[in-house]
């Protein structure tokens, strides 16, 4: 530890701290533009100058290590001053130079109100200019459909370049020219090829990079901000939903060190226009093959007539990828009350089952725990598409120190070096049998991590694959001591919550694909499941938010609330319980989903035992206490999961099927009904032909 006196306050900081971090530890506020905690140090904006006793000039605190500070003549700790007149004068000088070429267009700038330069100019700007030459004019660049450029405003902090190269791992941005002529651009103004690219607009300390879909649409001070959780994938990125009136205007990341740090994927950020397009805002009833608007009473009456006529075993329910735990709990109770075992939330046909233990369907090492792993095997997953934030975390780990990564599945660009070991279950068998060198790497590793994606579990031979994997995981010591390296990666936000509350077929019940088959059921309750093709025959009640595939097939449509319109519990892929917040109200006649089910239960004569959300949650928490502990991961027994999986195999290994693993995400930007309704996502999807890295390999 190193002792330092900052503004008269003595602090003791680790020697690898920079002066800026030490000053912040002492409570001093240091202005900065180029410095960012999660990026490499550039030291080129000079805004963080501080006075270091003994140094002849002010020093850039972001690029000055505390171990480089010399003690005083009698061994006194180095003395730093962050508020002295000299520091203020130096920063004013820097600010004056930054403003020389910065246009005075704050009134029409989208960054206005949340601009670092604006804020810091209030403290360090001078009210007059001594610069009488012409300002620099810079050609605006096209760098993609999500980021708007206004390059006159660029102050050359290079945060965007560093983010794209270091965190996103797609080095598309660069600075051409030099000095005054330096320009930020992509090569020949191609679009950036990263699924995290919109973060550069968040990083930009000025208005040079702003969010294109929100251009000229909003001012930060007119928005109400709601803390929430993303449901576009199973990562559960923490987000802030900014709304104006009845409309969600944008989504910004919130910092959560355990999950998304401070990044979110482009889909998480820019699906928001899908929240107001294609919405179901009133009940519909199919008459003579056509859907017509109906009242709630009519819709419930039609459902009640069909349900009462059906045998209990011919009734079933499928929950979709965006459903919250609350409504799945209500639906489970309702279907059970009707006497049917047919419920399933695994519309992709996954073989993961809560009977194998909770560890058998969680990302057990946790997302932050990826940084502790020393070898990674990815089976049947393309984490870049299924969980971009998890992929960014693996890349972060890979950048920290050499990390062997093996992939069994599609041959894709994951933004880090990896060994492609094979395509399908046969390669898994070969690896387990030791015919591939990578097995030694995994065996030597102290904390190996096995990522199991939906491409391997959602298959007919999934059980055999799980059995083979349990043997492999056991032989490499993936679950040993304090380390549980069994990491199941989900693609659907609702999945872990559904498995937690047991939204799976009961005794003799049918799975989702079985229910969707022709003639399997008379009445099928579809809670927002849009990724499954339901064969003609059954009477389908669709409760959801968007006029997507499920609604087209429906006989009755009950309009529900999207995740921004309700407080819903979601459990992310690592088992962390989180809740969304209600930012706006559902449109038109749409209602919160649990309330619809409660009202329906009344019409079906099976009244559910709760009248409000707290009562529902009391009921839910009594049955599943871990769901009450928000932002916590209940520990799960990895060894039990492995032994449960081992019992699944017929003993023949995984090689029964030679069909290669395929990620269920064919198109990153169109994985759920909200994203499919979004124009911005459609534009990104259309652009994928130009950025083949994001395309699932066919």
């Amino acid at each position: 530890m190193t002792k330092l006196v900052v503004d008269g306050i003595e602090v003791d900081v680790p020697p690898d701290f920079t002066l800026l971090q030490a000053c912040e530890a002492a409570g001093a506020e240091i202005p900065r533009f180029c410095f960012h905690e999660r990026l490499s140090i550039a030291g080129n904006c000079r805004m963080c100058l501080v006075e270091l006793k003994g140094a002849p000039k002010p020093v850039a605190s972001c690029a000055w290590g505390v171990r480089d500070c010399r003690p005083g003549p009698n061994g006194e700790p180095p003395t730093v001053s962050t508020k002295s007149p000299m520091v203020k004068k130096a920063r004013e000088g820097v600010m004056e130079f930054l403003l020389i070429n910065h246009p005075l267009d704050c009134p029409i700038c989208d960054q206005g109100g949340e601009c670092d330069l604006q804020d810091q100019a209030m403290a360090y700007g001078v009210d007059t200019t001594r610069f009488h030459e012409n300002k620099r004019a810079v050609h605006d660049k096209y760098i993609g459909p999500l980021v708007k450029t206004s390059m006159n405003r660029c102050i050359h902090c290079t945060r965007c370049i560093r983010f794209v190269a270091e965190v996103a791992g797609v080095p598309d941005l660069g600075a051409t020219g030099r000095g005054e002529d330096m320009e930020i651009t992509t090569y020949l103004e191609h679009a950036m090829g990263s699924e995290l690219q919109a973060n550069v607009a968040d990083l930009c300390p000025v208005g040079a990079l702003t969010h294109k879909p929100q251009a000229f649409n909003l001012r930060p001070w007119e928005l109400s901000k709601t803390a929430s959780v993303d449901v576009m994938d199973a990562v559960g990125s923490n987000i802030r939903v900014d709304s104006r009136g009845r409309e969600v205007m944008r989504v910004l990341p919130r910092v959560h060190e355990g999950i998304n740090e401070e990044w979110i994927s482009d889909k998480t950020r820019q699906h928001v226009d899908g929240l107001r397009l294609q919405r179901l805002d009133r009940p519909f009833l199919r008459e003579d093959g056509r859907l017509r608007p109906a009242s709630w009473a009519e819709a419930f009456a039609a459902i009640a007539a069909r349900v009462k006529a059906a045998a209990p075993a011919r009734i079933g329910a499928i929950a979709g990828d965006l459903a919250a735990v609350e409504e799945m709990w209500a639906l489970k109770l309702l279907i059970q009350a009707l006497g049917s075992p047919n419920i399933d939330a695994r519309q992709d046909g996954s073989v993961l089952h809560p009977a194998h233990g909770r560890a058998s369907y969680l990302f057990n090492p946790s997302i932050a725990g990826i940084e502790d792993a020393d070898a990674i095997l990815i089976v049947g997953s393309n984490p870049r598409l299924e969980a971009s934030i998890v992929n960014a975390r693996i890349r972060k780990r890979w950048r920290m120190a050499p990390l062997p990564v093996g992939v069994i599945g599609q041959r894709v660009d994951l933004t880090y070096d990896h060994a492609h070991l094979g395509a399908g279950p046969d390669s898994l068998d070969e690896l387990a049998a030791g015919r591939l060198d990578f097995l030694d790497v995994l065996k030597r590793a102290e904390r190996p991590l096995v990522v199991l994606g939906p491409g391997a579990t959602a298959r007919a031979d999934g059980a055999a694959i799980l059995a083979a994997l349990s043997g492999l995981a056991g032989s490499i010591g993936a679950v040993a001591g304090g380390w549980n390296g069994l990491a199941v990666l989900h693609g659907a936000a609702s999945r872990v919550g559904a498995l937690d509350i047991g939204f799976v077929p009961g005794e003799g019940g049918m799975t989702a694909p079985a229910m969707a088959e022709a003639g399997a059921l008379d009445v099928l309750f579809n809670l927002g499941a849009d990724e499954i093709e339901i064969a003609p025959g059954a009477f389908v009640i669709y409760q959801g938010t968007h006029g997507d595939r499920g609604a087209h097939r429906a006989d009755v449509i009950l309009p529900g609330a999207a995740y921004t319109e309700k407080s819903g519990t979601y459990v992310n892929t690592e088992g962390r319980v989180q809740q969304t917040g209600r930012a706006v109200f559902p449109p038109g006649d749409a209602r919160e989903d649990w309330a619809i089910l409660r009202a329906l239960s009344d019409h079906l004569g099976q009244r559910l035992p709760f009248d409000n959300l707290p009562a529902l949650r009391r009921d839910l928490y009594a049955a599943h206490p871990h769901l009450a502990r928000l932002d916590e991961i209940a520990p799960a027994d990895g060894a039990a999961a492995l032994s449960a999986w081992a019992g699944l195999g017929a003993g023949g290994g995984a090689g029964s099927g030679r069909e290669p693993f395929r990620s269920p995400v064919r198109d990153f930007f169109l994985t759920n009904p909200i994203a499919r309704a979004s124009r911005v996502m459609a534009e990104c999807s259309a652009l994928q032909t130009a950025t083949p890295a994001l395309q699932a390999a066919e």
Partner: protein, 358 residues
């Protein structure tokens, strides 16, 4: 310097490939760096590509270098646009780089520029016959032979307008030209009489180790019988120059000196003055000078001509006023209208005084 972009699409070649010889050369360059650091060879690679491709870098060459070194194309682009020695546009068969930096400037580079403008045309334009194009560049490091131009790989120095015209004509007609000084001088030797370093003792070896002999002589002059103890403060101390340190020079009134004498190193009054937040310039406002030295009306800045006046006095005419000090326009107003841009005075002559007797 201006914004540098790739040449327009019509003149870009479709493909670029290193010749076999250059590929071998490049492999040797890449081999100089450790594994995984091939990108370090990007500048030699671009340079060789430029040499191979008539002195300029087309887009396919940049892509070829990126592919060869396993770099993202934008990283190669950054390097190619950063260094002005990489030409992104076609150049003439003889690419002339005229040094326009101060030493060449005072020795007549402006006249050479005029010649090039007349004979070759505007900068960065190739003559119709494809022979010439030219560019004004910063110092090429041949100031001792100013003014000079670089044509392709060679320096042509000590030029006059006539010599340059002749040189251009020789090149255009295919005559062999001699690089180096064009006025008969050998390298950068004195042009006429030798005026310095004339003492033959400098060259006969007699001075080698002379400094040591002085110390030896001084040491032998000291008496051996305990005189060292009696040595007073007046004794010369050999081999310890004071290096101009303030501590050892009693005349200085420096903070270090004060600290040695046990006083406060910084006088409180000075500290208060130095930290005046109202000031943004390091220049102290001088007490009102009794009489300003006469200023030349030709000069656009009030730089005094005598060294003792090196301290710029606040409020002196024509300098940028100190921010916070009352401007000439009126008391207290700081809207920039009181500052005068350099060179904005129409009566002042341009920065360069016309040279006489040329």
């Amino acid at each position: 310097m201006s914004v540098r972009r790739l040449a327009r699409a019509e003149i870009q070649p479709a493909t670029f490939a290193f010749t076999e010889e250059n590929e071998r050369w490049l492999a040797a360059q890449v081999a100089k760096y450790p594994d995984g650091r091939q990108a370090s060879a990007v500048i030699p690679a671009l340079w060789q590509a430029q040499k191979q491709h008539d002195g300029w870098l087309p887009k396919p060459a940049i892509e070829a270098v990126a592919a060869r070194l396993g770099m993202p194309i934008i990283r190669v682009m950054e390097v190619a646009t950063f260094y002005t020695m990489f030409n992104l546009e076609p150049v003439g068969r003889w690419f002339i780089q005229l040094c326009g930096t101060v030493p060449c400037h005072v020795k007549g580079a402006l006249d050479l520029k005029q010649v090039l403008l007349e004979k070759v045309g505007d900068q960065q334009h190739v003559t119709p016959d494809g022979n010439f194009s030219w560019l004004e560049v910063e110092c090429l490091g041949a100031c001792c032979n100013a003014p000079m131009v670089q044509i392709n790989d060679d320096y042509y120095e000590d030029l006059t307008p006539d010599l340059l015209i002749g040189l251009l004509a020789d090149l255009a007609e295919g005559r062999t030209v001699k690089p180096g000084p064009q006025n008969g001088r050998r390298s950068s030797e004195p042009l006429d009489a030798v005026k310095t370093l004339q003492d033959p003792a400098l060259f006969d070896g007699s001075l080698v180790g002379g400094w040591r002999k002085r110390f030896d002589a001084a040491a032998s002059a000291v008496p051996a019988d305990g005189a060292r103890d009696a040595s007073g403060p007046g004794d010369p101390k050999a081999a310890k120059p004071d290096a101009g340190r303030a501590i050892e020079r009693p005349v200085a009134d420096a903070p270090a000196q004060r600290a040695q004498n046990g006083e406060a190193p910084i006088k409180p009054a000075e500290q208060a003055q130095a930290s005046d937040p109202g000031k943004t310039s390091v220049v102290d406002p001088a007490p009102p000078a009794p009489a300003q030295p006469p200023q030349s009306s030709k000069s656009y800045v009030a730089t005094p001509s005598k060294p003792e006046d090196g301290r710029v006095a606040a409020g002196s005419l024509g300098t940028t006023p100190i921010s916070g000090a009352p401007g000439q326009g009126g008391p207290g107003r700081r809207d920039g209208s009181d500052t005068k841009p350099v060179g904005a005075d129409p009566n002042a002559s341009p920065g360069v005084a016309p040279k006489e007797g040329r």
